[in-house]
């Protein structure tokens, strides 16, 4: 069945239809043998052989006709599924590009704000430092709070 995927669909259909039609024609001929034998008297000794071959061809034809229908249905489903996956992956990639851009813009805004605040601190440094001295204990507490409670990963 795996090898079937290498043969073009049209060729498979053609072969299967050919076998089926040959089987039908053979069965019709062997069923009305008396009628056809008038024009082809030389086939009389092959009557049994013709019946068997026609029946085998008919069975094989119907078998492959059904099988090929299922095969084609699977191929179509596979094609649809592959197309869906392709579209989803494409969309996903587009979303990634957009999200990446949004992220970079947001981080830039944060950095810009930080710079503005930093400049304000520098600008008002004298006023801020004039009336306040930070005790060492306050710094220790601040640093303790800033340390990661679980330690560095």
């Amino acid at each position: 069945m795996f090898l079937l995927s290498f043969i073009p669909d049209a060729l498979i259909q053609l072969i299967v239809n050919g076998v089926l039609i040959a089987g039908i024609v053979g069965c019709v001929v062997s069923f009305f043998f008396g009628f056809f034998v008038r024009w082809m008297p030389w086939v009389i000794p092959y009557r049994m052989l013709l019946q068997i071959v026609a029946l085998v061809l008919l069975i094989a034809g119907v078998y492959f006709k059904g099988g090929i229908g299922v095969e084609m249905e699977w191929r179509e489903r596979l094609r649809i599924a592959e197309e869906k996956v392709r579209v989803a992956e494409e969309k996903s990639q587009q979303v990634n590009t957009v999200i990446e851009k949004v992220y970079v813009d947001r981080v830039k805004t944060v950095k810009d704000t930080q710079i503005v605040v930093q400049e304000k601190i520098v600008e008002k440094e004298k006023i801020i430092d004039a009336e306040c001295k930070v005790p060492k204990e306050a710094l220790d507490i601040l640093n303790d709070a800033a340390k990661s409670p679980g330690g560095k990963k």
Partner: protein
């Protein structure tokens, strides 16, 4: 001949089973933008100083780090929701 005829339906019915195959189509798990794979930085510790402005600078830096980290988490959430929506369609 009769045996052949009796065998025919069984052979015909088995055709459908033989041809049916499962098609392995898999969607690749989407890659996240590399910027989002960085972990949040540690907060900056203040060096020994008695100037409030120096402390404020550190606090400002740390606030900024927090906001950056929040942006990253928000973007992760957005990424996850959007990708899930695409995946489930």
């Amino acid at each position: 001949m009769k045996r052949l005829i009796l065998l025919a339906p069984a052979i015909l019915l088995s055709g459908c089973l033989t041809f049916g195959t499962t098609a392995p189509v898999r969607q690749k798990f989407p890659d996240v933008p590399p910027e989002l794979l960085k972990s949040c930085p540690d907060l900056q510790l203040a060096s020994q100083t008695d100037k409030l402005s120096d402390v404020l600078k550190i606090v400002n830096e740390n606030y900024s780090r927090y906001h950056e980290c929040r942006v990253a988490v928000d973007t992760w959430i957005e990424w996850y929701k959007t990708q899930k929506e695409i995946y489930n369609k």
